[in-house]
């Protein structure tokens, strides 16, 4: 006489005798281990359970409610061993096959544009990663080159923007000299970040509890601790400097576009206005980058992971706000209106310059 055990296979109830239960449990546990590193593990396990359930169905009838051990063994044999290599991604299956040594060396270096942290199109970023120098140095070199060559450097940038491919896959990032390449590095990094995140949550939770013990529970009590006091003190300073720089750059830009001269300093005769405008933009970005970094750091001192929609909505609201401010300004300030009217012509000139470059 055998005991009967009820099991749940992907939502279907089945009764197995004890030896059948053991055999099936072993098979599924083995499958789970085999698929441990498979991203679709949960889904594949559900598929396998469903397939087993379908097969069990064949052995059941009006007068037979229990699947026996030998029947389970037959089912397991039909299912076949879990071929983890079949489901592994190309890079992994080479390892699983055991015929090649694991790939640990980096792929050959290639020049790519790197969009993460890019100011315009990631050309300087990519060049810096390729040459293993700091990106700020690369940018300064670029701007100096642009100034010394009277704008040809900018055309070179634009040309590179189109010629150099963007690094999109992790392999390309790695080839660009930027990111970890093999799966192990990526996983290790993710694990480190996850562990860091949990520690942080625990820390915050303890802080919150201390806060409650001391002050009692109050709705709206700050959950996340703010930035460190020094950074918090400096934050308004950063913001003011940032704003001042922005206003200066905007004034220079408006005077440049409207009058063709930066305040009272006329451009050299062979530098077109659009080139000067681009140089001004890049120079502004470079001057403002350290301040922006400092601001960012004091806002997010622990680099908290924001959900992806956060950045999106932040950008959207920033754009809307910007559009509103520009609209108000163009209604009330003739200089701004003139500036906006000049812009299309400037863009056209720029496009012409690029066309000339192409046809030359």
């Amino acid at each position: 006489m055998q005991k009967v055990i009820s099991i749940n296979l992907n939502g279907n109830a089945y009764q197995l005798d004890e030896s059948g239960y053991e055999a099936l449990r072993e098979y599924l546990a083995h499958a789970e281990r085999e698929l441990e590193s498979n991203p679709d593990r949960v889904e594949i396990m559900a598929d396998l359970e469903q397939a087993i359930a379908d097969k069990c169905q064949k052995f059941l009838g009006a007068h037979k409610a229990v699947v026996t051990g030998s029947e389970v063994e037959q089912i397991v044999a039909e299912m076949g061993p879990i071929d983890a290599a079949a489901g592994a991604d190309a890079g992994d299956s080479a390892q699983a096959g055991g015929t090649q040594p694991p790939r640990s060396e980096r792929p050959p270096k290639r020049l790519y544009r790197i969009p993460d942290g890019a100011m315009i199109a990631g050309v300087c970023n990519g060049l810096a990663a390729h040459l293993a120098v700091d990106v700020a140095i690369m940018r300064v070199v670029f701007v100096l080159a642009a100034l010394l060559t009277k704008g040809v450097g900018i055309l070179a940038y634009v040309a590179m923007m189109f010629v150099i491919p963007e690094a999109q896959t992790p392999e390309q990032r790695a080839a660009a000299g930027d990111a970890p390449f093999n799966a192990k590095e990526v996983i290790d990094r993710a694990k480190r970040q996850a562990a860091e995140g949990t520690r942080q949550l625990r820390r915050q939770w303890r802080q919150q509890q201390r806060h409650w013990q001391r002050h009692g529970w109050a709705p709206g009590a700050p959950f996340a601790p703010g930035p460190p006091p020094l950074a918090a003190l400096l934050m308004p300073v950063f913001a003011l400097v940032h704003l001042g720089l922005f206003l200066t750059a905007a004034t220079l830009m408006i005077s440049l576009v409207n009058t063709g001269a930066i305040l009272n300093w006329p451009l050299p005769p062979d530098v077109p206005v659009w080139a000067a405008a681009l140089i001004l933009l890049v120079a502004y970005q470079i001057v403002v980058a350290p301040i922006r970094a400092a601001q960012h750091w004091s806002w997010h001192p622990r680099a908290q992971a924001q959900p992806p929609w956060y950045a999106f909505w932040q950008a959207v609201s920033w754009l809307l706000g910007m559009a509103f401010v520009v609209w108000i300004a163009s209604e009330h300030m003739p200089e701004i209106r003139e500036f906006l009217q000049q812009l299309p012509g400037l863009v056209r000139e720029f496009a012409h310059a690029i066309q000339n470059l192409g046809s030359r």
Binding site: N38, D40, I82, G87, A88
Partner: protein, 107 residues
């Protein structure tokens, strides 16, 4: 490596190609695929097919839809994506070239 081991390696490499071909003919679910393969040298079991199909879906070659079946729970019916179709066309071409090469080289 024994001759059988060599053939097994070839079969393993070709299995994905054959699955693309089978999925291209019709919307199929896993039991259909297993049945079409069962009488061939490529007879395959669930333990291999499910992980392989999930990988092909991650690669964007196939996709599935849940569909009610007359008896029992709903099933996943697989079909080719645009990428799967173009890869199948490439593989077909490649297979013809291989065949031609092998015949050309003679005995």
């Amino acid at each position: 490596m024994s001759i059988d081991g060599k053939f097994a390696a070839i079969r393993k490499g070709l299995l994905e190609f054959l699955i693309l071909k089978i999925v291209a003919t019709d919307k199929v679910y896993v039991a259909d695929i297993l049945k079409r393969l069962s009488d061939t040298d490529f007879a395959t079991q669930e333990g291999t097919l499910y992980p392989l199909l999930s990988k092909m879906r991650r690669d964007g070659l196939v996709d599935y839809q849940w569909q009610e079946s007359g008896a029992g729970p709903p099933r996943k019916y697989y079909e080719l994506t645009a990428k799967g179709k173009s890869q199948l066309a490439d593989l077909n071409d490649y297979w013809k070239r291989l065949n031609a090469t092998i015949t050309q080289l003679g005995r």
